[in-house]
Amino acid sequence: MLRKKLPFLHSLLSPVSRHVGHLTGHQYDVIVVGGGHAGTEAAAAAARVGAETLLITQKIHTIGALSCNPSLGGVGKGQLVKEVDALDGLCGRAGDWAGIHFSILNRRKGPAVWGPRAQLDRQRYRDFIQSELLSTPRLTMVEGSVEELLVTEPNPEEPGHHRVTGIRLANGSHAISARSVVLTTGTFLSGSLFVGQTTSPGGRIGDAPSSAGLSHTLRERLGLRTGRLRTGTPPRIVKDSVDLSLAKLHLPDSHPTPFSFLNTHTHCKPEEQLPCYLTFTTPGVERVVRESLQLNCHIQQDTKGPRYCPSIESRVLRFPGRSHQVWLEPEGVTSDLLYPQGLSMTMPPDIQLRLIREIPPMRRAEIHTPGYGVQYDFVCPTQLSPALQVKSTQGLFLAGQINGTTGYEEAAAQGLWAGANAARSALSMPTVTLSRTESYIGVLIDDLVSRGVTEPYRMFTSRAEFRTSLRPDNADLRLTPKGFEEVGCVSSVRYQESLRVRNSLQDALTALQALFLSTSSWKKKLPSVPISETKSTLLTGLDLLQYNDVTFEMLASAFPESLSSFMEFAQRLKIEAVYKPHCDLNKKEIERIQREENMSLPQDIDYFSLPVSLSDEVREILDRVRPSTLGAATRLEGITPAAVVNLLNYVRVTEKKKETHRNQRQQEAQRDEELCANSASLPQ
């Protein structure tokens, strides 16, 4: 399924997208601002749902750029990539096209926590994304800087509530109207860059800062609460200047596993994959960090940085006297640079050079581009609905770092979901939500909108309560049918494929259960397997498959007539069999949570005057966070069980009232119709 040839991009891009004049006055369904991981997924998803979509970015050729590390996936993040792919997103297929070093992390720790991961060729990744967007129907791309978000005056009946009407571009005051706008501005919202003691406005080195107008609209016009976060990136090292023989060689998997459910192989041939290298910091590194602290603005600021992707400065300061890992990763097949994962730093460039030269393989290394830090604004995500729409502004959707997350995969996941919902909203379809019981994307969004962030949010498998059910291997079963049937963001080709997989797996499980033999018969069939005869006398094939030493292949060769047709799914069936009892146990709890999530809490409740028994403290929390469902309310800190029961009751009573009201109105309408019909039939 991999596309074999990519069109020659720049010749295609320039004529259609550099001039914005003709767009003025044009009405789009969805405008996406930003061309990073969130923006590209958002634009593609919106177009797939059926919306006329415009993607606006500062530079067309940086669409799909990997601003930081040249890799995709990992533990937790790999799950997100699989889910984005299951919803027909781009990043999984792009990873399969651009990957140059594939490995499944956690291979020995159980399939639920496998972390599919790949080192990427930056150029190939960008090419794939750009080509994919260019061939997406209903999607237009344009270069420009957004100066202002256009919104209606606040609704007098609902103070503080606006509706988005479009955007205005800088330099020439072009206004382009749209029913929905998705902002994916990454680190560009009031971004500033830090190197040593120098600070300059911007979101990424080499790119112009975004205009202050957008920030202003969000804060002043719409009254959104924002916070500030920081991140950083390491210097890029000239490959030839590094003595890789002093680092530990790290090889990829000999059989690369593609991310996408549609791909059976990766673009890169197994033997063409490139290795990574592992090395360690020395006491000299710590000395350089300590000596240069006063020259390091970024590190002295107390803006919240992530605890799990810290700069080398904070690593040695928090855990002194230790040797820290540094991965040297390839940047691409033809690139002559290395990316030193773990060495994000913000000291002056000459000191950066001193620091890296304290690490043995880099004794004589040269820096191509120094590392730097970025500080940027994010919008407190508790102001969003689970559709990633700003609660107070109809039609405004946010995705990616603007919501306080970090990482490509987190951005892509939100982008897809925000884009799909922006399209649905523009096309007058109800927005859709994903539950944390069915996907990591649901966990991500629920954590963001109901808990908020205090540091850049990254996905971990430990955040998912139902980790044994939300596995990378079954993301298609969990999401593809829903993506097609309820969201509309999945192509029918992928949908049909997912149905074929689902039915085949079901048939195979049925066939396994139909193999019902005594332990002695099983022993004869599979002599190498230690089957205890003291156990129950009859075992099914499914029971057998749960044994450590039993593979589906073994069963299929013992029972070729009933099982051999399912060989394609051997690994998935083994995983299904092992996890089935645990998933069955999860099911009841999942149903309970889903029931609570199905009870929505109206967004306009005045919690302070709600005529139910709630403490002032609880009212305040509810008023601040405004959880969209009862399920979200139960997960808030400080919400007591009693408060939940009271809210539950409130929801039920208001639902009943509404229903009665609806029925009454229907009856009235019917009566009116009858009256009209009667009067019409009266002789004049």
Partner: protein
């Protein structure tokens, strides 16, 4: 088999009331997905039971069972082997232990029919919650319900506080801390060990901790079976200033010199506990150190413990030395109000005991006795003398009726049931730790699931543990650098 037995052999005192809902709602509606178009309560397919009446020796007890296995419970425990009793008709039956077939008690059985099966003790507020979810409570009932649930959780909170503050609480808390650490380390190993420097030794230490914990919890469960002293009964605490005669009152009430009495202020320094049978009601009476600021470290600790006891008490007897009272009634009332405020956070559940009444002139005694009763803002007041026994009998009557009211309150928690719930959660916790060991070498995700279940089960006793708390431990213990 039905895990009903361990609740406590004797509570099946008079009636087993097998009912799916209070207020006689047709139970099939509870579990029907078609009811009112309400989100079906289908997934609540567990069968739950709880003692719905007052606890202990309160005469009549009502046990409520709700859920699909209710019929099975009736068949196994009330001998309806052939068919179920006619619906909504009280029948006198022998209640038997389904495993040993030993007769536990005889009682009335009422059956509100429904359909089909495991039982577990109800969680706090669960009956109410089910009623809500089934849409069975009407608007008028709803008005009062907020308060009801509040009271219910409030009683449970007080009870939990009481149970949690002692040695048992410390034990559970220690287990919980160790378990959380185990989980954090397993989670760190899963989420970060591929890229970060997390030594392999981490898992080995978790192995040791998990098997230690499992052994400790199992030992604890066995000990409890043999009948560890249950801290049941109404908690009555005697509090007040030094030398007011608190210990004398305790000795009078238990009719033996349980506490040392002396004219020296600050004689009682620790909490002195004694169990009483007050007209059939179990009472745990505690004498506490006199409340005063002291520079003595030991006494200060005694005062801290005294205040803690008062905080957890169901009923406080505030003892005042009558000789310290102003002679005018108005000023005496103001003095008492002020004094109460210094002892108690709220005066809802307390009795005011004016001791050493024999030291007052007869005239003043009578005036106080009659006039203080009607004063607003004061609880029930009784003048007594532990020296001459004057007023003691009348005081006992008041105390008895207060205790009776407390026991008669259906919302007053039943400690034994709480204990049963604890036991169920601890059993589940130990079983979950076994899952860790089963999967440790083959599938760490499933092994971790075991530790997660263990944390959740114990969390039902010690408080919920969120993912953020585990992440905090991870980032404190490891340098996660990628």
């Amino acid at each position: 088999m039905l895990p009903l037995r361990p609740v406590c052999g004797g509570i099946w005192r008079a009636a087993v009331h097998t009912v799916r809902m209070s207020r006689g709602a047709p139970p099939y509606r509870l579990f029907s997905s078609t009811c009112d178009g309400a989100p079906a309560a289908l997934a609540d397919a567990d069968t739950i039971f709880a003692l719905s009446s007052g606890h202990g020796r309160c005469g009549v007890a009502v046990v409520r069972v709700s859920g699909p296995a209710s019929a099975t419970a009736l068949r196994c425990m009330a001998g309806f082997t052939q068919r179920l009793p006619p619906p909504r008709t009280a029948l006198l039956r022998s209640i038997t232990d389904p495993r040993s077939t030993e007769v536990l008690d005889r009682g009335l059985v009422l059956w509100f029919p429904g359909s089909v099966p495991g039982l577990r003790p109800a969680e706090a507020g669960e009956f109410t919650r089910r009623a809500f979810q089934a849409g069975k409570l009407g608007l008028t009932e709803v008005e009062g319900l907020g308060d009801l649930i509040h009271a219910e959780t409030e009683a449970q909170r007080r009870q939990a506080l009481r149970q949690m503050s002692g040695e048992l609480g410390r034990l559970y808390q220690d287990w919980s801390d160790r378990l959380k650490r185990c989980l954090a380390h397993v989670e760190a190993f899963i989420d970060f060990s591929e890229d970060e420097l997390i030594e392999d030794g981490v898992l080995n230490r978790v192995d040791v901790s998990v098997s230690d914990l499992q052994a400790e919890i199992e030992r604890h469960l066995k000990d409890e079976r043999r009948g560890e002293r249950l801290r049941s009964g109404v908690q009555v605490v005697i509090a007040g200033a030094t030398n007011a005669g608190k210990s004398s009152l305790l000795n009078k009430l238990c009719q033996r010199p349980a506490a040392i009495v002396s004219p020296i202020a600050g004689t009682t320094r620790d909490v002195v506990e004694t169990a009483l049978d007050l007209g059939g009601f179990p009472v745990l009476l505690s004498d506490t150190a006199g409340l005063r600021d002291s520079s003595d470290l030991v006494e200060r600790e005694g005062v801290r413990r005294a205040r803690e006891r008062v905080e957890q008490a169901d009923l406080t007897l505030v003892v005042v030395d009558s000789a310290h009272l102003p002679s005018e009634v108005d000023r005496a009332a103001a003095f008492l109000r002020e004094h109460l405020r210094s002892v108690l956070p709220d005066t809802d559940r307390c009795l005011l005991v004016l001791n050493k009444a024999d030291l007052l002139p007869e005239k003043q005694r009578q005036k106080l006795d009659t006039e203080l009763r009607g004063v607003s803002g004061l609880p029930a007041v009784r003048l007594i003398s532990c020296q001459t026994n004057e007023g003691l009998k009348a005081f006992l009557t008041v105390l008895h009726s207060s205790v009776k009211t407390l026991c008669g309150d259906p919302l007053f928690g039943a400690p034994t049931l709480t204990q049963a719930r604890h036991r169920a959660h601890l059993q589940r916790c130990a079983a979950a730790l076994a899952q860790y060991q089963r999967y440790r070498d083959t599938d760490l995700a499933l092994a971790a699931e075991g530790v997660r279940l263990a944390v959740t089960s114990l969390g039902r006793i010690t408080g919920r543990v969120g993912a953020e708390e585990i992440l905090d431990i991870i980032f404190k213990d490891f340098c996660i650098g990628k």
